[in-house]
């Protein structure tokens, strides 16, 4: 159906106009982009670095770099994906600086063959939200994701917390689609396994 196809093709993301205006020096247009994405960029940075001060610095640096390099943004990807990519790179760089003893990259922590095989088959009953209060639940979620290797944490954050597609995640991380898929599976299963320690159906035993 050609009519429908051309309609879809003409649908332009609202960011395109804002980016075009910002490129011409319209600060208000850039400020609107900042408003739209500052929460997301801060969240991504905090998930990866697990450190609030670092996340604040990275959010500032990512927008600053985006502003400086705006001319280089060709619009082949979404502006938000491009921005996330800058923030991810800044975050990983920050982690590398912090950890002197080992390097941090998207290539590490992969291929431990048994890493993705589920071992805990207990149901989660009652639902975690019924089992724990909001602040206790938040603490469990923070502690659990903190324990994931940075490469897995990053993929999980982009795909499942920020809801990026597999293709967008691959683009933001400079990885292939199969690489994203394999890391995502491992990340999800590892998180599931770790959360199960708190959420598994109890048989009269105490919470961990």
């Amino acid at each position: 159906m050609p009519a429908i196809q051309s309609q879809v093709a003409e649908e332009v993301h609202p960011d395109v106009a804002l980016v075009a205006r910002a490129k011409l020096g319209d600060t208000a247009a850039f400020e609107q982009l900042v408003r739209q994405y500052e929460r997301q960029i801060f969240r991504v940075a905090q998930h990866i670095t697990q450190n609030r001060e670092d996340a604040e610095d990275i959010t500032q640096d990512a927008f600053f770099k985006a502003y400086e390099k705006l001319e280089q943004f060709q619009g082949n990807s979404k502006f938000s994906t491009w921005l996330v990519r800058i923030a991810v790179n800044e975050s990983l760089m920050r982690l590398r600086k912090r950890k002197t003893s080992r390097t941090v990259s998207m290539d590490e922590d992969v291929q431990t063959e048994d890493g993705s095989i589920p071992r805990d088959f207990a149901e989660w009953r009652p639902n975690p939200e019924q089992l724990y209060g909001q602040s206790e639940l938040g603490e469990i979620l923070r502690k659990t994701i903190q324990g994931l290797p940075p490469g897995f944490r990053t993929v999980f954050t982009l795909r499942d917390v920020e809801n990026l597609s597999t293709e967008e995640t691959a683009e933001a991380l400079g990885l292939s689609v199969p690489a994203v898929k394999s890391r995502l599976l491992r990340a999800r299963l590892q998180l599931r396994e770790r959360l199960s320690r708190y959420f598994r159906k109890k048989n009269g035993e105490a919470k961990p």
Binding site: R35, E38, E68, P118, P128, L191
Partner: protein
Amino acid sequence: MTCTEFLSKLDDYFDGKVDADVLAEVQAHVKKCSHCEVVLDTTRKTISIYRENEVYEFPAELRERLHAAIMKKCSKAKV
């Protein structure tokens, strides 16, 4: 479908991207494998609990401070 094959389809299954025949195979597998049924359910909950709960707070005060700092920094940039 084996348990390993089931795991490899999980991502596309959650995205609603599996073909009808694969979907039927996944559903049939889960029906007869209680382990994978639990893995499917708890993995789905893992995703939704992280998506629905703001793990890190972003209070208005922090947002305003950060926003002002970003705009101040950018105002000094050479574009």
